[in-house]
């Protein structure tokens, strides 16, 4: 621990030296910041006081040419790297973001933002605008009066943030899962602003399979009468439906290598309480784990935000229109990172995306990772692609 701390401090000092004169060199402690738009068109509707949270790692150089944008996954936040305080939880891609790491904070200014309708609306570190936000016109939460949002809306708000920092062009956009959808959308919609693209564990559209599964993800929320067609603020909330939805997402993002591992498999939830001894309260350990995970995540999540995110996912086709035309708009070189164990974005779909981006000559390097966690390999096993990321960013 002391050695780790010492290494961290050394890195921090090196970063300070490297970026002499900068006051915001990256020492592993990050601060959540808020970006506000007084008014912005979302889903065709003018929304006032649009806020999203963001954080950054490393320093923006003088000509503002060293920025990389990180876009987050469905249940994620902007917390991609570092810690909010010593001893806090590191960001989800901390393995590849930091001094000397593949996304090297000694070279790059890396920024990461919360999306609109971020799932974790009750997480105090998250700043987002969505159905759970107060509508200034009524003083009450929007609920379903909030417009349906798209991945393009997420990107449009991020573009405002990026431009507010004086950045004209991003070195790269990188993101996992729903973050990859945002990355594709950036490159297809604003090709002049994206130098390179690192989409991880996702394909370039929601096909029928994803549309169907996203529908199933949110189904238990709609079954819960406390959801009440989205009108539940200030009363009993659809905790059961939301917990179940989040348990389902947790399982779907995993792989049987995990569920069948030595600590789960057919183990019982409670020693001595045979799952055969009653119907619902006698459980296997994997059931108890999923239920606990769902309930824990529900405590900081919002059910309407879940459904809005699922809809945004369903509506996604990179660049709008049809997939082939959308992916043709991508001209930035692509490092596509996927796992053949991914059960949310299957291999057939990501291979098709790679082939369609390549179709007009755009270079695509497709790297496969395998960490035994299915879709979540894109988070937990991302360091397997570290050298490829470093080389890809370093290439002229």
């Amino acid at each position: 621990m002391a050695r780790q701390l010492a290494a961290l401090m050394t890195a921090a000092i090196l970063a300070l030296v490297t970026n002499a004169g900068q006051i915001c060199a990256y020492d592993g402690i990050v601060e959540k910041k808020t970006f506000t738009l007084a008014s912005f068109t979302i889903g065709g509707k003018i929304i006032k006081d649009v806020k999203i949270g963001w954080e950054s790692y490393g320093a923006l150089n003088a000509d503002k040419s060293n920025a990389i944008l990180i876009t987050h996954y469905f249940s994620g936040t902007s917390h991609a790297a570092g810690k909010y305080k010593a001893g806090g939880a590191p960001g989800y891609w901390d393995a590849i973001i930091g001094p000397g790491k593949p996304l090297d904070t000694d070279k790059y200014f890396i920024l990461s933002s919360d999306t609109l309708v971020n799932l974790n609306a009750r997480d105090p570190t998250v700043v987002t605008t969505g159905p759970a936000s107060i509508d200034p016109a009524t003083g009450k939460p929007y609920g379903l009066s909030f417009p349906v949002v798209t991945i393009r809306d997420f990107v449009n708000v991020q573009k405002e943030l990026v431009e507010s920092l004086g950045i004209k062009k991003l070195v790269a956009v990188a993101g996992a899962s729903m973050g990859a959808l945002q990355a594709y959308e950036w490159a297809a919609s604003y090709p002049d602003m994206v130098g390179k693209l690192i989409p991880v564990i996702a394909s370039g559209e929601a096909d029928g399979y994803q549309i169907a599964w996203l529908d199933m993800w949110g189904a238990s929320i709609r079954v819960d009468p406390n959801w009440n067609k989205g009108d539940y603020y200030g009363r009993a909330e659809p905790v059961d439906g939301l917990s179940t939805a989040l348990a389902l997402v947790t399982l779907h993002a995993q792989h049987w290598t995990w569920t069948n591992g030595p600590s789960l498999g057919r183990k019982w939830a409670v020693d001595g309480k045979d799952p055969a001894s009653c119907l619902t309260d006698c459980r296997f350990k994997i059931e108890a784990e999923l239920a606990a995970a769902g309930r824990a995540r529900a405590a900081v999540s919002d059910a309407n935000h879940f459904l809005y995110l699922a809809k945004a996912g369903q509506l996604f086709v990179a660049g709008g229109g049809n997939l082939a035309d959308g992916l043709k708009k991508i001209d930035a070189p692509v490092l596509l990172i996927t796992s053949d164990d991914d059960l949310i974005f299957p291999t057939d779909a990501v291979n098709e995306t790679a082939q369609l981006i390549r179709a007009d000559g755009t270079p695509v390097e497709h790297v496969k990772i395998k960490g035994g966690r299915g879709h979540l390999d894109g988070v937990f096993a991302i360091s397997q692609a570290g050298d490829k990321i470093r080389a890809f960013l370093g290439a002229k």
Copy 2:
């Protein structure tokens, strides 16, 4: 149509000639029969008036040595072949059961039974005993006072049925999915009564992955307050939860080749009603199809029966104990039929089962089918294995 009818009649006449003297030669019209046990131990509890439905195709020979038992899948019934009346729906494996077909009714007496706690408790053609049945002791449905049942219980009741017909040994037991679990259990628990085994699209136990998914399958029922911990008979029933559960099963049993096909994919449910135009009532076609399928199936299903079946699936290890020991008990030659597109029983799991049965020298022929429907290939594409089934049954 006339030609088909003529062919059917010719087959029926041939069957009558072949089985001269038998009065029940198979003409494609089947009758649902009821088997009753005045009292039987299920889940360690004595249950009175246990009834299951069954049907048969072909004629039992004089020494009762030509019987094949068909065991059904999770949402299935005993209706494996033929029609209850002219113009009715054929049984789910009609493609392989009939005169001259791989499961040849000119040679074999093929019987098929409804399981205990059959899902389709409200289907008038189904006869089953479970939580929705009237408890003679109270005059009211059992609800959750019905004991937790296992695949072994299903098999034990089938054994009574088989023995009541004077059959000492089955030529084979064949079944798909949960039907394959019953087949494994027959061969492991009553090896002297099973000549050959044809398990289709399933492995020899529920591993952590299946346990977790079966939990998720029933989760929306538990979210629905009308489920009321199983006490809903005679009041509002958990139709929303059950419909959602059945929609989820429908999707899980499919494959992206189906969801992404030309009639589904990103098509809208209603022409002119863009799914982007509202949150929940503006849908894609695949969402509407799944919802309709779930609701239609819920109309004949019982929510408690669903949860009992899911539990039976979770508790399953062939022969009890651990998988390797259970599969060693299987001595009957095995024709294992699976699909690599199966997303419920993945290839890794079925391959392990084949390897463990083979471990002590039991012959296993493993045939792969591929019909673009994932798990459901075991029903819709079963005729791809027709020649293998015929040869397997014909081998000495």
